[in-house]
Amino acid sequence: MSAGAVHRFRAMGCEVAVSGSFRISPAGVLERWEEAFSLFRPESELSRVNASEERVLRVSRLFSSTLEAALDVAAETDDLVDPTLCGRWPEVVISGRLLSRPPGLALDLNGVVKALAVDEAAAALDGPGFVSVGGDLAVRGPVDVALPAGGAVRVVAGGLATSGTASRGAHLVDPAKNLPSKSPWEQVTASGATCLAADVAAKAGFLLGDVGPEWLEARGIPGRFVALDGEIVENPAWNAATRVMQPCT
């Protein structure tokens, strides 16, 4: 695939756009993640883990590292992005490739799987390019990206992700209430060192509601918030990074 040309296809239930030269096919990478973690495939490892009555299970290396990442995210976001969706993530323990959790406690790794898949696919880029899955992307070299509600931004390094209710309704769960979240934002876009970091930041910014911009700012994460009434709020980190400097006259 030549750099510059954008190749589009569907994977992981989303529109995928990739550009650049890859050492490993991004479609193959995404299929491997979907095969392991899709909740719509009864034979996926995640479906089999959730169906198991055993307290302790031996899981694949991919499953183990993904769950570790999900638990890290839950700790980092103070339970906001929780792989159990009910605040019980501290009961889940992964040690090497052994998973221990109360039988019947289902895991949902959607909070990290897509972003990790994007990061892995982008790591196979040989040169400049990008991988975007459902609008969450990771880049190698600068890429300009259109934003929700108009406008664009140049992603110089890392990833960019958007979370919200625009396309699927209230699908993000507020673990504190165990209910679909009610946020003053329709969509939150965040820039992260990786697609995973961007995705986690966007989800947390959305779920935190009014204090989302402040939470991202405290961590030096650029965030852009589209309110339900269409108003666009940029936190200072986003504003400073995207301000066009006027040349001196």
Binding site: V143, D144, V153, S191, R219
Partner: protein, 85 residues
């Protein structure tokens, strides 16, 4: 003759007693050594382990997932869009 043999017997008993005391001392020392190593908190039983913090917390501190990326003003028509999926 019998006096000589009594002296020899006494010496043999003394040697036996010394040996018994030596063995008993070694056994008492060994039991105390192992007991202290197993039960006394000041004695290391193996490699040092950190106290307290759950491993998930340590991982979170070690590899913070909340790190901002680099963005700048756009300069070209964007080939891709960020949106909710």
């Amino acid at each position: 003759m019998s006096g000589h043999s009594r002296i020899e017997l006494a010496r043999a008993r003394a040697r036996g007693a010394k040996r018994a005391i030596g063995v008993l001392t070694a056994v008492v020392f060994g039991v105390a050594f192992v007991g202290a190593k197993v039960h006394a908190p000041g004695h290391a039983k193996g490699t040092a382990k950190s106290l307290g913090a759950p491993s998930s917390f340590e991982r979170a501190v070690r590899r913070s997932v909340a790190q901002g990326g680099q963005i700048a003003p756009a300069v070209q028509p964007p080939p891709v869009a960020s949106s909710t999926s």
